[in-house]
């Protein structure tokens, strides 16, 4: 047996296998995922595994290495989130999201830290030696909402789009603040004296970290888009570029002590539009599937390791401190959301209702990021206390809040996601409204959001698309893209239903030479006929088209971990239609 030789990859594969088998196991019982969110079940499995290992070896099981978490497990999840982020609602609410992410997190950090410091002053709890600085450090890592946990829970409850994007966007963007504060307090711990100059440097650093992350991300994103311009002849490695550039942007940002999460999101959002135009359909599917797969595996592994790491001798159970930590986390988050929403509602027409506010406050879940950060703390005699407190907070938020949020959403009748299929008509209307509002803003001389959006679009079409798109001469509007997508689905449906290859179903209506199926050439000829302004022809066409039953299949939400919009293998006929239609468009 040469176990030593293969040990490392073997064990890694075994863990991943365990994670995937656990996932299958949950979905075998249909009722289970609806009551208990998956993250809880995975932590539970982790707890069992940890217990087994502890029992067998009689020492603490391997704790999740922070490096492994930050370098390997976190990026796929954030990339998946950023790539499939619906950009329209995100940018429409960007002000609110930034307010929650930046001001809200700072509020939470200082609130929690100072209250805990107050608790430490009470003699009875034996916490005198935990200094203010230690509390600040602890506060900075426990205050931030975790995107992994939020994703895992919110994915299953389908609240309305705006609410989802607020919580989710906040959890992603608060990384910049967390990074700065954590590193700041950490460096303060090591410095003998702290001058006010250092504090100001810290504030300035925040802007550097955030904006720097965005810049790094965007530059990698545009480079990726540029690279895919030339991949026409080597389609097979196209998906690789998407992943390589995103990962590089994350690593580069981390290298410069900037926010890696912000960088990878900026990269994904920046490159998505151009890359999708450049790469082939198959590559596109590959990218989607791989991203979902990797983020799924990462997600599962993180929660299992969380469970495993809980067992062991890493903890110092000072219950007063721990309980107060949990209480303060909840209280300060609720207060923060209330105060900030009050300000936001003064300036916005579309107010955030109190139900929504409750869900935002309640959805402030902590997860693996705090866990890893606490292990990265420098060794001092109270570290185990912090580890214990972090573990309890995470377990509390994931189990208690995660499990009860769905019944609460039902109970409060929070506005749910609108379950309707995208229609071409809606796209047309929204675009029409965009242009109308931009025009009105121009006429009234006001530089509002539509004005800037218009300007950005103009810049995009004049300069960016020329450089980054391969087939520049065919820029596609979102209306056209959606229409193509729906047409494809329609063609696939027809192929599946076996309607291709049959002759026209109603020869009597062939009068002007119409065909009710998808033979492109015939339809084109008929449209030329229609140019003769024959009203009968127009009526006929409407009838035939209506009879064709242009059914639109539902697409699932883009950010669902488990399912992708069903795409089956098109038959040969459908492929032919696609090619013909594609040439036409």
């Amino acid at each position: 047996l040469d176990y030593q030789h293969v040990q490392v990859p073997f064990e890694i594969t075994l863990w991943i296998m365990l994670a995937s088998l656990a996932k299958i196991g949950f979905h075998l019982y249909n009722k289970l995922p609806s009551v208990v969110p998956e993250s809880c079940l995975l932590i539970f499995v982790g707890l069992i595994m940890g217990g087994i290992i502890y029992g067998l070896n009689d020492r603490s099981p391997p704790v999740m290495d922070s490096d492994i978490f930050f370098l390997y497990l976190l990026p796929p999840i954030v990339l998946d989130a950023g790539y499939f982020m619906p950009s329209r609602p995100f940018f429409e609410n960007i002000g609110t999201i930034l307010l929650y992410a930046v001001v809200g997190t700072i509020w939470n950090v200082f609130g929690i830290s100072f209250s805990l410091y107050g608790i430490c002053q009470v003699r009875a709890f034996q916490l005198q030696d935990v200094s203010l600085l230690h509390n600040l450090l602890f506060g900075s890592l426990i205050a931030a909402v975790d995107p992994v946990a939020v994703l895992a829970v919110f994915e299953e409850i389908h609240v309305n789009e705006k609410l989802h994007i607020l919580v989710f966007g906040e959890s992603l963007l608060n990384d910049a603040v967390t990074v700065v504060l954590y590193k700041l307090f950490r460096s303060f711990c090591e410095m003998p004296t702290i001058k006010s100059v250092d504090v100001f440097a810290g504030v300035g650093k925040f802007f550097v970290v955030g904006l720097g992350g965005v810049l790094v991300g965007l530059s990698f994103g545009f480079t990726a888009a540029f690279t895919t311009r030339f991949t026409k002849d080597i389609r097979v490695i196209e998906p690789l570029f998407v992943f390589l550039y995103s990962y590089l942007s994350y690593l580069t940002a981390e290298m410069f002590h900037l926010s890696g999460i912000v960088a990878i999101i900026a990269c994904a959002m920046g490159m998505k539009r151009y890359v999708e135009a450049n790469i082939s359909l198959k590559s596109h599917t590959t990218v989607k599937y791989f991203m979902k797969m990797w983020s799924s595996v990462s997600d599962t592994l993180i929660f299992i390791f969380l469970g495993v790491s809980t067992i062991g001798e890493n903890h110092e159970w000072n219950w007063p401190y721990i309980c107060f930590t949990v209480i303060f986390c909840l209280v300060w988050r609720a207060l923060g959301v209330l105060v900030l929403t009050f300000f936001v509602n003064r300036f916005h027409v579309n107010t955030i209702t109190s139900k929504d506010q409750f869900i935002i406050a309640y959805g402030g879940l902590r997860g693996a990021i705090c866990f890893s950060l606490v292990f990265l703390l420098p060794e001092f005699h109270r570290k185990k206390l912090f580890i214990a407190a972090t573990t309890v907070v995470i377990l509390f938020t994931v189990f208690v809040q995660g499990m009860t949020i769905r019944p609460l959403v039902d109970l409060l009748a929070v506005k749910r996601k609108r379950e309707s299929a995208p229609t071409v008509g809606e796209q047309i209307h929204i675009r029409f409204l965009d242009h109308l509002l931009a025009g009105i803003e121009d006429i009234s001389g006001h530089w509002g959001q539509y004005y800037w959006k218009d300007k950005l679009e103009y810049f995009n079409s004049k300069y960016l698309q020329k450089i980054l798109l391969r087939e520049y001469d065919q820029p596609k509007s979102s209306i056209v893209l959606l229409y193509e997508k729906l047409e494809r689905k329609h063609a696939i449906e027809l192929a599946e239903a076996g309607q291709l290859g049959h002759g026209p179903a109603h020869p009597s209506l062939l009068g002007p030479g119409f065909l009710c199926s998808s033979n492109d050439r015939t339809v084109r000829t008929n449209q030329k006929l229609e140019d003769t302004q024959n009203p009968d022809v127009l009526d006929n066409m409407q009838e035939i088209l209506a009879r064709n039953l242009y059914r639109i299949r539902r697409t699932g939400p883009a950010y669902n971990r488990h399912t992708l919009p069903g795409e089956s293998e098109p038959s040969e006929h459908a492929k032919e239609i696609l090619i013909l239609r594609h040439k036409g468009l």
Binding site: R346, F347, V349, N350, T351, R418, S420, T423, V424, G425, E426, I428, H429, I430, R431, F432, L433, H435, L436, L437, A438, G439, I440, E441, D442, I443, S444, G445, H446, G448, Q449, Y450, Y451, D454, Y458, S461, Q474, P475, K476, S477, I479, V480, Y483, L486, E487, V523, R524, Q527, L538, D539, M541, Q542, E543, L545, A546, R547, N548, Y550, G584, L585
Partner: protein
């Protein structure tokens, strides 16, 4: 209603109390700029706005300002020139929603805005959006892409029309002909989009800031 230069213009009744005098001042200044200090604006005056040139539906927007149906006059057709009161009337379609509106006011508010949009789509003023008019809209929207063929814009419009038919009429019988989208159908189509919050120009929201002081 005479609007004298420089004096405070009277607020048309339909706008009070939602539009403050500051906003009226601002719009009045803009009106004077556009009309080159005349009392009325003609279509040609809109050419002086440089950014409007790149707007694909420019023609429809300008047309909407002169459309008598939007100016709340009983007559139909196009006006040749509009004065400041008419200008304000059109702008009032883009005022934001208020906190204290009840159900009925909200419904009227929404219908007003959708009526404005409907008039923009329905260019021949016959109360219906026909297939040809819809095609026209889509062609204009996609006119920014010089290489997109006219036929593709047409098939997109056809597809959208069929969707509209299926929403408004449901399953059509073999001999039924869908003539065009009436205003009731139009309302149905926009049910999913919350136009009360989307269709407004932000600067008209200054009243909330004014109330803060």
């Amino acid at each position: 209603l005479e609007v004298s230069q420089g004096a405070q213009p009277p607020i048309p009744s339909l706008l009070s109390p939602t539009v403050t005098s500051e906003q009226i001042e601002h719009l009045h200044r803009r009106f004077k700029q556009l009309s080159q200090d005349q009392l009325t604006i003609r279509k040609e005056n809109f050419d002086s706005i440089p950014d409007l040139e790149f707007n694909p539906i420019r023609g429809k927007i300008v047309h909407a300002f002169f459309d008598k149906r939007n100016l709340r006059q009983e007559s139909d057709g196009l006006a040749d020139e509009i004065n400041f009161e008419d200008f304000l009337t059109i702008m009032s379609y883009f005022r934001p929603i208020e906190m204290n509106m009840d159900e009925e006011q909200l419904d009227r508010f929404r219908k007003e805005k959708l009526k404005f949009l409907f008039h923009m789509y329905d260019s021949d003023h016959d109360g219906k959006i026909t297939l040809q008019e819809y095609r026209n809209v889509v062609e204009e929207l996609l006119s920014g892409n010089p290489h997109l063929e006219k036929e593709s814009a047409r098939s997109i419009a056809d597809g959208a029309m069929m969707e509209a038919a299926s929403i408004c009429v449901g399953q059509m019988g073999p001999d039924q002909v869908y003539e065009g989208i009436t205003f009731e159908d139009f309302l149905k189509m926009w049910q999913g989009i919350d136009i009360e919050t989307k269709m407004h120009v932000r600067f008209l929201n200054m009243e909330t800031i004014a109330h803060c002081y």
